[in-house]
Symmetry: C2
Subunit: 149 residues, 2 copies
DNA sequence: GCTGGCCTTGACGCCGACGTCAAGGCCTAC
DNA sequence: GTAGGCCTTGACGTCGGCGTCAAGGCCAGC
């Protein structure tokens, strides 16, 4: 099958396939006209890459899986190197999720505080010079120092 | 104070401050030599921006906070537009965290399945042609934080 | 023979938040 | 005078994963 068909089968674009080839993943045979030729094996390879990409893996992270398949293993994750990538990615995910939850907590705290201050300052505070074009800016008097935590 | 000192106070670089200025945040006065001049107000502005950046906010997302401070409000989040950004970012964070947890679950499932298959296949399975030089130590990757989309 | 459709390679564009370099100006100290 | 240290503007580089041309080749159908 040719590049356009493979791209369609995998739900991606020809540009992407050529990019993968340029990165050394997904090699291609050529027919008489120099056109790339693919088979079902390549489709499986490609689907493997796409799945990992959907997980947020970088292209380089998919390489062990690709090499594993190319070596004749039944699946991309039939090799220890692939499993190592899984584990590393799990650790990354955990770290990332944890960090984002921390941030979420902090932002929520900021929002809550600011809401209280706004509602407390609204009834009759001074009026800062609001030369802003995008609408009303309600007054507020209570100032706060550093909010780094 | 001059740009180098402000950068140091805020724990950032002069390049960053000039970049902020070019984006219309953090304007600067000039002295006789054309050098930028800042004061404590600018430092507070800058700290506000940096805090939001640390939360993973894009620079454009900090603009309402900056304008709020510049309008004379006591804090960057003393304005409704800033609160709206907080809320939007919370929603983004929730979506992002949720997505990453889904992914985490899927990856963990893949890993578990692959581990079982490996241990089941190892004792006496076929030996694919492994022409790969996979004896090197696993690459240590830095954990990267994904921005909220 | 001509149009249309698929393919080829090559190269620049994009996004964000800067890093890094280049060339030059001004002031201070020695 | 000259070395050093701060500052200025401008412009190109970075990272990933492609998108988007541009210019051209080959083949099928009419």
């Amino acid at each position: 099958m040719r590049i356009g068909e493979l791209a369609e089968q995998a739900g991606t674009t020809t540009r992407t396939l050529r990019y993968y080839e340029s990165r050394g993943l997904l090699p291609a045979r050529r027919d008489g006209n120099g056109h790339r030729e693919y088979d079902e094996t390549d489709l499986r390879l490609l689907r493997q890459i796409r799945m990992l990409q959907d997980f947020g893996f970088g292209l380089e992270d998919t390489r062990p899986f690709v090499e594993c398949l190319q070596a004749g293993h039944p699946a991309g994750d039939s090799c220890p190197t692939s499993l190592a990538v899984y584990r590393a990615k799990l650790a990354e995910l955990d770290a990332c999720i944890g960090r984002m939850q921390e941030i979420r907590t902090e932002v929520a705290a900021q929002l809550a505080r600011a809401e209280v201050e706004l509602s407390a300052g609204l009834p009759g505070g001074p009026d800062p010079q609001c030369a802003l074009a995008h609408g009303s800016a309600p007054p507020l008097r209570e100032a706060q120092e550093e909010a780094t935590t």
